[in-house]
């Protein structure tokens, strides 16, 4: 859906944060950046909607923030290094935020990592036989 006609559009299960993504995500990412300040984190947690309304973000972006829908936030131009500032504000680990974008639960995700991570096999090309990213590890620890 994003990254179309780019040299990376056939890499499955990721979105490269390029100029097109940066443009649509500019205010979303700058909102995330504002959460680096404690006073802003407090204001955001007190009334998330009101805080978001101070930013010229799209309604879809605001909704995705309120829903903590990270897959959607990535599709709407969010960059993961910015987005984790939302999950940090929630007191969540990076793994907790990241795992929501996969078809694994946090525990399953952490378990996969412990076993050596997700194998690149089947995850290099969208047309590589199986399109769906595999959670099997190529090597076991």
């Amino acid at each position: 859906m994003n990254n179309q006609q780019k040299p990376y559009d056939n890499i499955p299960g990721t979105t490269v944060f390029d100029g097109d993504m940066a443009r649509i995500g500019f205010h979303l990412n700058q909102f995330c950046m504002s959460l680096m300040q404690e006073s802003n984190r407090v204001a955001f947690k007190q009334n998330e909607r009101a805080y978001l309304d101070q930013w010229p973000m799209t309604e879809a972006q605001k909704t995705a923030v309120l829903e903590r829908n990270f897959s959607q936030l990535i599709a709407l131009g969010g960059n993961i290094y910015y987005l984790v500032k939302i999950s940090s504000t929630d007191g969540l680990s990076v793994a907790a935020a990241v795992s929501t974008m996969t078809d694994l639960s946090v525990d399953e995700y952490i378990d996969m990592m412990r076993r050596g991570g997700r194998s690149p096999e089947g995850n290099r090309f969208t047309d590589q036989g199986e399109n769906k990213p595999s959670e099997e590890s190529l090597w076991q620890k």
Binding site: Y8, T102, R114
Partner: protein, 289 residues
């Protein structure tokens, strides 16, 4: 004259700093991570670098979407560890090496590199975690640091060829500096990791180990790897590995690998670490014959 004597590559995974700051780095469960830096801590006490040129990337900490430098060199007097959302890391202030940094900046700009000069900034885990892993818990960092921040957050990062060439230019610059200084160059980041999407958690051990193998002699081959290939093979965030090429370019062609460490996983990331010492001046001259 100043001289680059050695270099190292290391991941800069935030968890490592977190564990040290919480006093948990000695726990048995983390031994497979920290054991791999024991050699390094001894080695650095012998090496005693005066200055470390520390190549890292900022992770949406100091630089935001308003301004994204491809290469930013720190020419300031000092740098505070950044508050990345949990308060600043309780580590010492990072002392700069402004005289050498300005010299390097001037020299490499005249060599055709379009650096951004930075005189004031905070530095995030990308810079402070490597310092912690190498120097341990110290009252103050035992050397000066020149931060060299590379954009790896917004596509495109600088190419591997560009990074390797910058390393070579830095080496030429350092060797023209009149003061007697022992300088190291550290490349940080990586190794394979993917922090977003359905594909999150990707780790490519084979790729990482091949990268570490080739970096010693076949670095020109590594320099040809495109960012698209890094993303495909080692994850979207795996493209941080270009920063190791700056370190490699700053060293002699002949180096000795004196240490290596690889461990999977550390949180979401493959951890890699190696140390190169420049072969002696003699053998470099031999090679030139």
């Amino acid at each position: 004259m100043a001289k680059i004597t050695s270099g190292l590559g290391t991941s800069h995974i935030p968890l490592l700093g977190y564990l040290m700051d919480k006093g948990e780095s000695h726990l048995e469960k983390w031994a497979p991570i920290f054991k791999g830096y024991e050699f390094t801590k001894k080695w650095i006490r012998e090496q005693k670098p005066d200055v470390v040129i520390l190549v890292y990337n900022d992770h949406a900490t100091t630089f935001d979407m308003k301004l994204i430098p491809t290469f930013a060199i720190g020419c300031g007097e000092s740098y505070r560890p950044a508050d990345e959302g949990y308060g600043a890391r309780p580590v010492p202030l990072v002392k700069g090496a402004p005289k050498l940094a300005w010299h390097v900046a001037e020299s490499v700009i005249l060599q055709g590199f379009d650096l951004t000069i930075v005189n004031e900034m905070t530095v995030d885990h990308g810079l402070t975690v490597p310092l912690s892993m190498v120097f341990g818990e110290v009252e103050e960092w035992p050397c000066q640091v020149i931060p060299l921040a590379v954009n790896t957050v917004v596509y495109p990062a600088p190419t591997g060829e560009r990074c390797l060439a910058l390393g070579k230019a830095i080496r030429a610059a350092v060797e023209q500096f009149p003061d007697d200084l022992t300088v190291q160059v550290w490349g940080t980041g990586g190794m394979s990791h993917q922090l977003l999407g359905e594909r999150a958690g990707l780790i490519n051990r084979e790729w990482d180990l091949a990268f570490m193998d080739d970096l010693k002699n076949d670095y020109e081959k590594l320099a040809k790897i495109s960012q698209v290939e890094y993303i495909r093979e080692s994850g979207t965030e795996g493209s941080e590995m270009v920063m190791w090429l700056i370190m490699r370019g700053a060293l002699n062609h002949e180096v000795q690998e004196v240490h290596r460490h690889y461990h999977v996983p550390v949180s979401n990331t493959a951890l890699g670490h190696l140390i190169y010492e420049n072969a002696s001046q003699e053998s470099e001259e031999e090679k030139a014959l």
